[in-house]
Every structure is written in structure tokens, then in C-alpha cells.
């Protein structure tokens, strides 16, 4: 719960990490990639306010106490989701695999949800692993990172034939939230690997069964994402990086990107995610609650975001997708619940 000016907000952070990217976890022979990856993340952190920057050493490996203070104590996060990211080609024990993330579940009961993952290139063994992970953690979601390298392969697409059994398995097991993160490489390398058209296809195929949360709103392909999300009822916008990477560093772009998302995607389908430990949640939550669409002509035809919309994005939308109970006192007020749908919720023929 985040409290500001005497008002309380339910915060559902849809994108958290508890990683170990310290040199001790780098795979021999892959040090260059492991080091490059975490240094790249560290550069992203520099897009937040200077007072929230960490040293590279702390950023490579932070403690459970850091996590507790930044996320729950200072950040006011009520419930957060770990997006497990393996990258075992580069990190011996994974960047933040499910076991590593799950270590925190017992420490903070009821506060954390751990998402699983799958990789269709693992075939039958991967399917069995997904079942085992579900058995153990009662998964409600998976995080898919399509640019992950594996045995000489530089990635995969959601439309690959061997991905279908995995989506079917998710349906069968009741794992209904699929978080998709596009990365820079994929086979064949001459195609645009950030293209989101494969999400479009599977979202249509699994409408009513699976939700697709596109992380980082498809960045750097915001336009493709918006044109797709406006047509697919089960496609959602994950705001990690939008708030963290733009709100402080590029406030004008932030306002316009928010305006476009409100127009094409709508406040009902946008999810707050801090992407901790890239950025701490506190300044993001606080800044987002303070934020208003600039009252200038170039922003005039964007939908406005009111208090009720901010409540949805910050917590209520995510809670709904993950069946998380919101205390009555933090649920939308009657007036907010009755407020008309945003004018931005349009369909595109």
C-alpha cells in the first residue's frame, strides 16, 4: 500500500527481479556477454533520478534486505510478480531463475508471485519442467524471453510450431498470463526481431484462454504494439521501462507515449511494473501519482488520466489478471467504478 496526501493506493508491481549477475555467476568463456548484459541494465538505471542510482557492484548482486526495503518498505508494493529470466548460456545459475526468485516467497508470504518460463526449443523436457514448476509453485503466469540464446540458436518466435504444445499446456494447467519480452536476436537474423506480429497470432488463437502482457509495450516497436493491442482484447501493455526509462529522463516523450497508450490500449489494459532492480519502485509510484498530461496544445487530443485510471494502472488491473484480492478500502470508489470508459478505447478496422 502506498500512501500519498492522506490517500492510499494498492500497488501491484507486475515486473520484479531478484538477480545474481555477479562475476561468480558468469559462465566461463561467456564473461563478455554476462558482463555486457548487466552493464547494459545498469545504464538503463541511469535514466532514473540520480539519487536512486546504485554502484555497479551493488547492482550486480543485491541482498534480500535491499529488496525488502526498496520494494515493500519504501515502494509500498502490496503484491509483486517475479519475471524469471534464465540466460543460463551466460549465467551459471541463471540470471534470476525460478528457484532463486522462489527463495523469497517464504520470506514474504502472500506478497510475491513467481512466474515460470518455458522455451519451446527444450521440447518434451521443457514441457515436463513446466509441469513440475507448476506443481511446485502453482504458476499463474510465465515470462517468455524470445531472444535467449540456446545451443547456437539465437531465439524463437511465439508462432513456431514447437511453441504450440507449450501454450496448450499453459491453458491445461491454468497458467493464464503470458508475459512476452522481445529482444534483439532471433532466427533468421535478417528479420526484425522486435516485430510483435507473432504475439498478434497467438493472442487471436488463445483469446479467452490466455492473456498476453507485452513487456515494455513492445519497445522499440511501440507503434506496432499499439496497432496490434487495439485489436486484440487479450493483449495488455506492461509499463516497465516506460515509467522507469522515460518519466524522469524524457518527460515529454513519456507524456506522449502515455497519451498514445491511453488512446490505443486504454487505461484498463495497462499494468504498472517497476522492473526492479533496474529502477526502485518508490520514485516511479510517486512520480506516476503526481503526473498529469501537460496542458499544452500538442497533448490536447490525448485522453486524460484521472485518479481512478491511475489506481487501475498502479494496482487494480494487475490484481485482476492474477486473481489477487484487493482490500475493500483500496478498491475503486463507486464513482470511479462508474466512471465512463476512457474515450481512447477505440477499435481500428
Amino acid at each position: 500500500m502506498y500512501e500519498k496526501d492522506g490517500r492510499q493506493y494498492f500497488v501491484f508491481d507486475s515486473h520484479l527481479h531478484f538477480w545474481d549477475a555477479s562475476p561468480a555467476n558468469w559462465v566461463a568463456g561467456q564473461e563478455e556477454y554476462a558482463k555486457g548484459w548487466i552493464e547494459c541494465f545498469h545504464a538503463y538505471q541511469s535514466l532514473g533520478p540520480p539519487a536512486t542510482h546504485w554502484s555497479l557492484e551493488k547492482f550486480q548482486k543485491y541482498s534480500i534486505d535491499d529488496f525488502e526495503k526498496d520494494v515493500f518498505v519504501d515502494g509500498g508494493v502490496d503484491v509483486g510478480v517475479f519475471q524469471s529470466t534464465y540466460l543460463k548460456q551466460w549465467y551459471t545459475n541463471g540470471f534470476n531463475d525460478i528457484e532463486h526468485n522462489a527463495d523469497l516467497l517464504e520470506r514474504f508470504p502472500g506478497k510475491l508471485i513467481v512466474n515460470g518460463r518455458f522455451d519451446p526449443r527444450e521440447g518434451q523436457a521443457g514441457l515436463e519442467q513446466l509441469e513440475a514448476d507448476n506443481e511446485r509453485y502453482d504458476l499463474k503466469g510465465v515470462k517468455l524471453y524470445t531472444a535467449e540464446w540456446r545451443n547456437g540458436s539465437r531465439g524463437w518466435k511465439l508462432t513456431d510450431d514447437d511453441a504450440r504444445p507449450f501454450f496448450d499446456k499453459c491453458v491445461e494447467l491454468g497458467i493464464k498470463n503470458v508475459h512476452v519480452h522481445k529482444g534483439p536476436t532471433i532466427w533468421p537474423l535478417d528479420k526484425d526481431s522486435f516485430d510483435v506480429s507473432d504475439v498478434d497470432h497467438v493472442a487471436t488463437d488463445y483469446n479467452g484462454e490466455l492473456n498476453f502482457i507485452v513487456e515494455h509495450v513492445g519497445l522499440p516497436r511501440i507503434e506496432d504494439f499499439c496497432f496490434m493491442a487495439t485489436q486484440e482484447p487479450n493483449v495488455y501493455a506492461g509499463l516497465a521501462v516506460v515509467i522507469g526509462g522515460l518519466m524522469h529522463a524524457r518527460p515529454n516523450f513519456f507524456a506522449k507515449v502515455m497519451g498514445e497508450l491511453l488512446f490505443w490500449v486504454s487505461e484498463d489494459k495497462m499494468l504498472f511494473g517497476s522492473d526492479y532492480a533496474i529502477w526502485e519502485p518508490k520514485w516511479q509510484v510517486e512520480g506516476f501519482l503526481d503526473w498529469e498530461m501537460p496542458d499544452l496544445p500538442e497533448y490536447s487530443d490525448y485522453p486524460r488520466l484521472d485518479e481512478g485510471g491511475k489506481r487501475k494502472i498502479l494496482g487494480l488491473n494487475g490484481a485482476k489478471l492474477y486473481d489477487v484480492e484487493v482490500p475493500d478500502s483500496l478498491a475503486p470508489t463507486e464513482a470511479e467504478a462508474e466512471a465512463a470508459l476512457p474515450e481512447g478505447a477505440v477499435g481500428v478496422e
Binding site: P184, P188, P220, E223, K256
Partner: protein, 223 residues
């Protein structure tokens, strides 16, 4: 003008295909050395080590070709710094080979289709910035457009095989078909979003580049 100035000037014609901005303006040219004999060595650096290999390759290969176009250049060497596929890209560019040779077995074709796709996006984005400059966009002609965005539209249209003459319709979709009056509202929104997407990514790339190479501002090679 010194040979180095001319080389830098020519590098200013090399565009990041994804952002549609010159690599010199983006700060991607980290170093440019020219010997008295005309041997040129350029180092390119990108905002992250994971920048997409296909776009990185295009910029490196285009830079190599641009340098060779400058009279007085005897040899050209372009190297991509600190990139996770830098080894593959640098050796293919040095040998004058294509993308498929840089990544054997990992490609289906060269990068022409990818480049065309992003030229179409860039064209629509540029048009998005020009829509407000004429009273009636659906009847406007190319001659009615002016300024740097209009000049870039002409370059992009020619590269895409779309009529760029003065009499041609000013506003076309990415595939070259003119935008009709009844499509204008939707086209405007889509074009504006595409422009915002490119600009936002350009902004983020600049911020990340500065975080990665703090001296960028100082050393940024001006043309």
C-alpha cells in the same frame, strides 16, 4: 576542407535505419582517424552491446561504403566497438562481404527487405510531422512540402521506388498509395504514433549511449 572533414561529411549520409537519423548526429561515430596517405579508420559505438545485429551490420557496412566514396581515400576500416556480435560483423565488413556471410546459417536473405520495411516506417513518420504544414493534406503535392523532413521524404521515396517528383501526391502510405481524404484521420494518428516511436527510441538510445560512454557529449563528431 581536410580529408577528415570530408570523410565525416560523408558519414553524415549514413542513417541508423531503425531511427532514421544520421549516425554522426546520434553520436555513434566514436573515433575517426585519417592518415596523410588517406587510410581511414572509424570506430562505431552503439547504445548497448545488445543492439540488434542486423541494424548494426547495416550501419557498419554503409559507413565503409560511404568512406570509400570520398576521393582521396586509399583504404577504409570500420570497426564496431563493444558489441556482442562485433567479431562477426567487423570481419565480414572488412572482407566486403554481406550479412549472410557474417552469420552463416543464421540468415535467409540479405537485409534489403528489413531496410525497406524501416524506410517505409521512416517515411510515414516524416509525413506525420509534415501533415500540419499544408491546408489540405489529401490534395497536397510534393512541391508543397519544404524543410528537412520534406527533403528526407524525397530521399526515402526514391529509395523505395515511390514517385518523388513535384507533382506526386505529398502524403502516401508506406506502400506508396496516396492517402485519401476519408483515410486522413486514421493516417494522421498512425503517422504521429510512428514518429513518436522513432523519436522516443532515438531519445533512449542517446541517453543510453551517454551512460555507456560518458564522454559522448564532448567527443560527439559534429559535421
Amino acid at each position: 576542407m581536410t580529408l577528415r572533414r570530408r570523410v565525416l561529411g560523408e558519414l553524415g549520409t549514413v542513417y541508423d535505419p531503425e531511427l532514421d537519423e544520421p549516425i554522426t548526429a546520434l553520436g555513434f561515430v566514436g573515433c575517426c582517424e585519417v592518415s596523410a596517405e588517406g587510410d581511414v579508420s572509424v570506430r562505431l559505438r552503439l547504445p548497448t552491446p545488445q543492439c540488434a545485429p542486423n541494424f548494426a551490420f547495416l550501419m557498419a557496412a554503409d559507413a565503409q561504403a560511404a568512406i570509400h566514396r570520398v576521393p582521396g581515400v586509399r583504404s577504409a576500416r570500420v570497426e564496431l566497438e563493444d558489441h556482442y556480435t562485433g567479431r562477426e560483423i567487423n570481419s565480414a565488413v572488412a572482407r566486403g562481404e554481406g550479412f549472410a556471410a557474417a552469420f552463416p546459417g543464421e540468415t535467409r536473405a540479405e537485409l534489403d527487405e528489413l531496410r525497406a520495411l524501416f524506410r517505409r516506417k521512416a517515411l510515414v513518420a516524416r509525413e506525420g510531422r509534415l501533415l500540419g504544414s499544408v491546408p489540405d493534406p489529401s490534395s497536397a503535392r510534393m512541391r508543397d512540402l519544404s524543410g528537412p523532413d520534406a527533403a528526407r521524404c524525397r530521399v526515402l521515396r526514391r529509395a523505395l521506388g515511390i514517385d518523388a517528383s513535384d507533382d506526386a501526391p505529398a502524403f502516401v502510405r508506406g506502400d506508396g498509395t496516396p492517402v485519401r481524404t476519408d483515410e486522413l484521420g486514421r493516417f494522421t494518428r498512425m503517422a504521429r504514433l510512428t514518429a513518436l516511436s522513432l523519436e522516443t527510441n532515438g531519445g533512449m538510445c542517446r541517453d543510453l549511449l551517454r551512460a555507456r560512454y560518458p564522454e559522448t557529449e564532448r567527443e560527439e563528431v559534429a559535421v
